[in-house]
Amino acid sequence: MSTDTDADPETTSAATSRQGDGARTGGGIDLKRVSLYAVVAVMAAFYLAPLWTGLVTAFKTQDAFFGTTPLAPALPGTEGFTVRPWLEAWAALLPGIVNSLWFTVPAAVLSALLGSLAAYGLTNVDWRGQVALLVPFVAGVFIPYQSVLVPLTQFWNWFPLPVGGLAELAITHVAYGVPICTVLFRGYYLTLDEEMLEAARLDGASIYRIYLRIVLPLSKPMFAVALIYQFTNIWNDLLFALVLAPPNAPPVTIALNQFKGSMVNQYNLQMAGAFIAALPTLIIYVLFGEQFARGVAGET
């Protein structure tokens, strides 16, 4: 961190312009920068602390986490260290993880694809009334799930899918994922070069051909955003899962909640379980944080 503060006064006006009046006095700069970094680090600690205390607790024996401070790790080789919570939680949650993968991946893919189609039809094909049709999609992003739960259970009771309850859960998630995906893709399609599409039109290309040959290939970065965002959302959902998932095939969120309930006060097991259930979304977030941020920002 010391190298950062040393280097900063040298940076040109563009970079220092946001550093306020730091450049005025030679001696004051370092102090200001140091306190800025101190605040930044304290905030980072605030966001990581619940995860950190969970992580170190998951590696402790029952005696150890009751006897030590919740921030101190138990080092491998010492008495309080154990990996048993991880093994036990993994065994308990694996079926839930498999169940969740079964409906999360298809639902994420399908909602992204439908979102792309809807956004193209409502953005790059010119006809009147697009905005009117867009409103239900945008408003759909904000609908509280509670306001449809009772009818949804009725609906799936009347028309059960022969392939099982997880498929019903998948279709429901697709229906509720289409609005946000449409909004994300529309934002992107508005930036496409209109002249390029117009030229293709003048060449006699049909709107289907333009979509398949031009728009779809250009959509790859947005598919990454939509897929990552949808996967995270659907994987993390509990409410639809509680109401729609078959009892014999609980998704990972339900499995984790049941695991928590059956492991009262066994915080090492609970923490290991929480990390295992979060692992797919954590990996995706670490690898594709920028895409996730774009998906999150797209909600607004």
Binding site: P50, Q146, G187, L282, A293
Partner: protein, 347 residues
């Protein structure tokens, strides 16, 4: 919306640092409906309108239906059809086993709410949660955005850390926070004991006095990164020369932000506030994992009460009526927002 997404792109930041407005010399933004500059926005909208008049035919409408009709039907059926059905169910007397009888309709369920002390407490808590959660999250998010935007090193790393809780399931974060709030060995009470603030050692999620505040605090932790992302996009669309100009005029850093920068973030505040308020209305998972369905009067909210009445007690009609109230509350937030978006040309 588009503006927010776009301005997250690193290139926007580079262009700004070169001293230029980010729209300058970038032809990809030509049809951007959500630019900061109203003149640019309206001009491109005008161009689009002209294009519409040129090529709009009934044929285009019908052929484009292949693209938007299937998703619209799916969303229409499952979202809007279900909302309407929910309202109908709320007008019946359906409870217990069996199917609803759509024979006679009345507003009995809604009348019942007004004399139901549980409902009134839950409604009050919902509003308290909504206001406290939204205000604190916005303030913290703005603070984080300003921090991250001040040209710090490893900006990306810190942004990633601050946004990290948003990628986690509420089931996961509720389990973490239950441990943090644990009376005997939890992190929070241990910290207070370590600094000798023993009066602050409390049963944060067992004492009715603190339950709601503890929930709000944890949810702020989870969502402030989101508010930061929205504010960062807003900050980065403000041209650098405004920062420069205010400095030349001699405004101090705090004054600079209060007088020049923050007033320009109104659009970011509005859109973030809408998302946060709607989330507060439907917050369910976190409370359900932490407390179950019988969470006690001090922290009961409508979103959980609806689930408890319908899926716990079989009071389907009453649950649907509470759900309708939640929907109307959400509508009263998003309705004006969508209109505002439309007026701004952002839709």
């Amino acid at each position: 919306m588009l503006r927010l997404i776009r301005s997250l792109v690193e290139r926007a930041r580079r262009e700004r640092q070169q001293g230029g407005h980010r729209q300058d010399g970038e032809d990809r933004v030509r049809t951007d409906g959500g630019t900061v500059d109203p003149a640019v926005g309206s001009r491109s909208r005008g161009e689009r309108a002209a294009a519409t008049v040129r090529t709009a035919t009934e044929g285009e409408f019908l052929r484009s239906a292949v693209f938007w009709l299937p998703p619209l039907l799916l969303t229409g059926l499952f979202v809007y059809g279900a909302i309407g059905w929910n309202v109908v169910i709320s007008l019946t007397d359906w409870n217990g086993l069996g199917d609803p009888e759509y024979a006679s309709f009345d507003v009995e369920m809604y009348a019942r709410m007004l004399s139901d002390a549980t409902f009134l407490a839950a409604a009050r808590n919902t509003v308290a949660l909504l206001v406290a959660f939204t205000v604190v999250t916005l303030l913290l998010g703005l603070f984080l955005a300003i921090l991250v935007d001040r040209g710090i090193r490893f900006e990306g790393v810190f942004r990633t850390v601050y946004l990290l809780p948003m990628s986690l399931s509420f089931v996961v974060t509720a389990i973490f926070w239950a441990w943090v709030y644990n009376f005997e060995n939890g992190l929070l009470n241990e910290l207070f004991r370590a600094v000798g603030a023993n009066f602050l050692v409390q049963g944060w999620i067992s004492d009715p006095q603190f339950k709601l505040a503890a929930v709000v605090f944890a949810l702020v932790w989870q969502f402030s990164g989101y508010a930061m992302v929205v504010y960062l996009a807003g900050l980065q669309s403000i041209p650098t020369d405004q920062f420069e100009a205010a400095r030349v005029d001699g405004a101090g850093t705090v004054k600079l932000y209060l007088r020049v920068i923050i007033p320009q973030l109104r659009a970011s505040t509005t859109s973030a506030a809408v998302v946060l308020m709607v989330f507060a209305l439907k917050a369910f998972d976190f409370l359900f994992v932490l407390f179950g369905t019988n969470l006690g009067k001090s922290v009961d909210i409508l979103a959980v009460m609806m689930y408890r009445e319908a899926f716990g007690s079989g009071n389907w009609a009453y649950g649907s009526a509470i759900a309708t109230v939640l929907f109307l509350m959400a509508l009263s937030v998003i309705g004006p927002y969508l209109y505002y978006q439309y007026r701004r040309g952002d839709l």
